[in-house]
């Protein structure tokens, strides 16, 4: 039982970072009904910028964190301009394909920046952790969970208490109606991209600081984790992204502990498969899926 609770705690901590990545996907998907495959690789390139100043200039961890987040936002803006802004609204497939192409490009840039395979990534705190009763809380997991909760609270306030949040939700629901209100969908989409990249950069830093290393494969890995978490919870649903990320984290850590590392990804794919068969809209995305199905029937 102690083992089970301990692995659940670890799973929730890593899962909270997955939730953040899924949130980035879901924000962009919600606002423009397109998937940005380059999202993970933009985080990876941001992290490479961070590790580059760490390796070459021996920068402080907080500076590495700042550069990682800023780098991710810069790359996110580039991806938005090339793959989404430049491609017409009704050409969702073209956007997705070009975001895949840009993914390859970003990996090339990363390997030019740092030609080796693996680079060290600095952790924020050097202390080991906290023990409460029989349970051990790794310091980097505590940090991840705390930051993730903070980001979520701030995102909620942003979405429900600010003018930008109102515009973002309006565009997510109906870009045409939003435009009649004087909201400029293009600007909202751009800002949603910046916001998603900001959240992605924070998540990327937390995950890599816990691993203490970064490779060019991090982009692929982050896109996988984020997409799976988003689809588990429901595409375009913000609570869905949070729940999906946490569930993915717990499933992974439980199977890793009880069945071994080899079954970690297999089990998460299996759960995703079952969820999509039983609830095609994801766990919390049923409403959105239902609306879209209705719209489709109307056509």
């Amino acid at each position: 039982m102690v083992d089970f609770i301990q692995t659940t705690i670890d799973g929730l901590s890593i899962g909270s970072a997955y939730s953040l990545i899924a949130l980035g996907f879901t924000l962009v998907f919600g606002v423009m009904r397109r998937i940005n495959l380059s999202y993970g690789p933009s985080i990876m390139l941001g992290a490479f910028a961070g590790t580059w100043i760490f390796v070459t200039l021996d920068a402080q961890p907080w500076l590495v964190a700042a550069v990682t987040v800023a780098g991710t936002v810069a790359v996110g803006v580039y991806v938005e301009r090339v793959c989404f802004w430049a491609i017409r609204r009704d050409a969702a497939i073209a956007s997705m394909v070009s975001s895949f192409v840009i993914w390859m490009q970003l990996e090339e840039v990363a390997t030019i920046l740092l030609p080796g395979r693996t680079y060290p990534f600095p952790e924020l705190f050097r202390t080991g952790g906290v023990e409460i009763g029989p349970y051990f809380f790794r310091m980097e997991y505590v940090t991840t969970l705390t930051v993730a909760i903070l980001v979520l609270v701030m995102l909620r306030l942003l979405l429900f208490k600010t003018r930008f949040g109102l515009a973002l939700r309006a565009v997510s629901e109906n870009p045409a109606a939003a435009a009649y209100m004087g909201i400029r969908p293009g600007r909202v989409i751009f800002r949603a991209f910046v916001l998603a990249s900001l959240i992605g950069g924070i998540a990327g830093y937390l995950l890599l600081a816990a691993d203490q290393q970064v490779t060019p494969y991090f982009g692929l890995w982050a896109t996988f984790k984020g997409l799976i978490a988003m689809m588990l919870g429901g595409m375009g649903s913000i609570p869905g992204a949070v729940v999906g990320g946490l569930i993915l984290g717990v499933i992974e850590s439980q199977t890793q502990w009880y069945l071994g590392n080899a079954y970690k990804d297999l089990s998460s794919y299996l759960v995703l498969f079952m969820v999509l068969v039983l609830r095609p809209g994801g766990l919390l995305g049923q409403g959105i899926a239902e609306r879209e199905a209705q719209a489709f029937r109307r056509i």
Partner: protein, 239 residues
Amino acid sequence: MLEVRDLVTAYGTIEALKGVTLSAKQGEITCILGPNGAGKTTLMYSIACILKPVSGSVKVNDTEITGTSAPHALRCGIALVPENRLVFHSMSVEENLMAGAYTRLSSDRAGVQADIDNAYARFPSLKDRRAQIAGTLSGGEQQMLAVARAMMSRPKILMMDEPSLGLAPLIVAEIFSIIRQLNDEGVSIVLVEQNAHKALQIANRFYLLDQGRVTFSGTPGEIGEDDFIQRAYLGSKVA
């Protein structure tokens, strides 16, 4: 008040408006009638600067607004109640109203709050449902919300696209009495309707639109005199 001159709007190579000229006078209800595909909705979108016309001009109080942006048209006093209402289903009634005031949300918080209170005074049923998700409202309530939302930008000209579409007769009567009430308060109305009988009862002036052109304009008194229009647009008297 509103002057539209030789407006041409095209989707690709297809011209939906082929040179429309019309004017809506201050304080009047101007009605645009015409069969499906006549270009009525296109005309509204072009006036509201949501569509960019190929040529022609739209003036509000002698200010040229052609080819500017939807936010600019809103600030010049043009608001649109779109066809099918298009309220934000996942948002609360109050959030819908705030979205309607989006262009002045940051500069005039107090004014927006006052306008929300005004909207509730006008539509008491919305007040009872202020925190309710708009998607759960009835069709009639959604139409009220769409009107209230458009009024949040304090328009001088309210354009309404088929406000009676899909609503029960009793609700339609209510909508029309609201239109009349808004008009009495000094808001100029531009109304697109399929329900021509109903529309002609309240219109001061009407335009017939067919295949992107104005084919007739006049006052409701004149229409009975013209049998052709009667047949073509209001349904033949003999079945």
